[in-house]
Symmetry: C2
């Protein structure tokens, strides 16, 4: 692991690091905010998964998470959204290839060689984080925005027992029924649609749900509502009697101005679960 | 004036607008956060002047000002740092020309045609803001970062009675004694160094000071301390018995991670003056 930068931030440290990922077969970069409390022992970890086109940097600089995380003594990790570099497959579209990993393990060429983002997050980066930093593996929560909201919801439901709580900002809720999903799952996972539902938050909600609290915020003026399909998740969660706070926030859109507005409430929500 | 974008943000609106500037003889872009309270009447205005290489956008997305401004019902304007566009003089260096206006009125060719940033801020943009938005002209304060900290300090002292309070994050404090200043003042104002001191915060402090509270934060690990020369302002302020809170913050550098860390305290500081 190599340190790219470390900046003092809200009494703690905002770092950027690169490391070799076996799963993705390339170097990967991530941001990590460590609160001051980490100097005295392991602290809880909140995962923040980012959306289409983002790197590790967008949320790290624009979501306003560090101040609230510092208040609660929580670390926040900002992974990249895909493998990158020369030799890594890509596509001209913003929503396929680099910057658009969708948090799945690709099975189809040319993507399968590097696009193993599910394993990257749940195994490779997990291993790096808990080996190299003062983080408490028994206290993890997860959140994300848009494609990263999809990632947070699906990882939380697919990895029972790992996350104390899950939240999302304007998540893609039903990729198997959306052009933000069908195109990518077809490319990464192939034409067998039966394999897609294991990465669809609404399908996972119908099948198994999440053993803990969920918080979902989406703006009523989100310009991508037809692609996000929050109604499918709301319906599935209600049918299941899932513990959830599902909110449509009047006037807000899909931007980081929306994310930052509700960041305090999301981090407070996770802190309550992490320190329960 | 043309609206580029408006996003809901912390109960208010983060807008971006362009307008014709007579002083700069070109179109200029600015960001403006208006809190919810502006729907019911004019609100106080905090000016945030940005640093070298920045546009209206950097602080608007990275400084974390909107949430605290919303808490206090204060608007925040994020002006650009120079004229821009084809036909506007520029230089290959990052610290001269576009993105580096230094908040002065250039008198020398080729800069004098467009680089009239002092008048742009104090006249053109002022006029646009108070004509087009629900802003209270009798309640203004000013802050900024680096070159923008220089701008905030010099404008506050040069325009007595206009600003209730002034603060700065890692400001350039003594441009006439720094390579962040001598090069630019020489280009913009010419070789007569006597004209430079009217735009030097430390010289202005020695000459006239500021009739109100000042708050200055600079990181002890700021990589540009030798260029910022905070010691000159500290000395001048102490000699003058200026009301000031001058802080060197241990461990912090020049980045927005530093700015965002102390943004809450700066906005609270200005709110106390604006609502006094």
């Amino acid at each position: 692991m190599e340190t790219i930068s470390e900046n003092a931030c809200f009494g703690g440290t905002q770092g950027v690091y690169t490391h070799r990922s076996e799963s993705c077969d390339c170097d990967m970069t991530f941001g990590l905010f460590m609160p001051e409390e980490a100097q005295h022992g392991p602290v809880p970890l909140l995962w923040y998964l980012s959306g289409l086109t983002c790197t590790h940097e967008n949320a790290m600089t624009k979501a306003g998470a560090q101040g609230w995380a510092a208040d609660h003594g929580i670390a926040v990790v900002f992974p990249d959204t895909s493998p990158r570099g020369e030799g890594v497959a890509d596509d001209e579209a913003y929503d396929l290839g680099q910057g658009a990993g969708f948090y799945v393990n690709a099975t189809e060429a040319p993507w399968s060689k590097h696009f193993q983002m599910y394993d990257y997050i749940t195994k490779d980066l997990t291993s790096v984080l808990f080996n190299a930093f003062a983080l408490d593996e028994t206290r993890q929560s997860i959140t994300g925005h848009s494609m990263g909201g999809h990632g947070a919801l699906t990882l939380a439901m697919r990895e029972p027992g790992r996350f104390a709580s899950v939240s999302a900002f304007s998540p893609i809720c039903n990729p198997t029924g959306s052009d933000w999903g069908k195109k990518q799952f077809s490319a990464y996972l192939g034409s067998n649609e039966a394999s897609w539902s294991a990465h669809d938050a609404s399908a996972l909600m119908a099948e198994k749900g999440f053993d803990g609290p969920m918080l979902i915020d989406t703006g009523t003026q989100d310009q991508f509502l037809d692609l996000l399909r929050p109604e499918t998740l709301a319906e599935a969660a209600a049918k299941r009697r899932q513990q959830i706070n599902f909110r449509m926030q009047p006037g807000y859109d899909h931007s980081y101005f929306f994310v930052s507005t509700f960041m305090e409430e999301h981090i407070t929500f996770h802190a309550e679960a992490l320190y329960a």
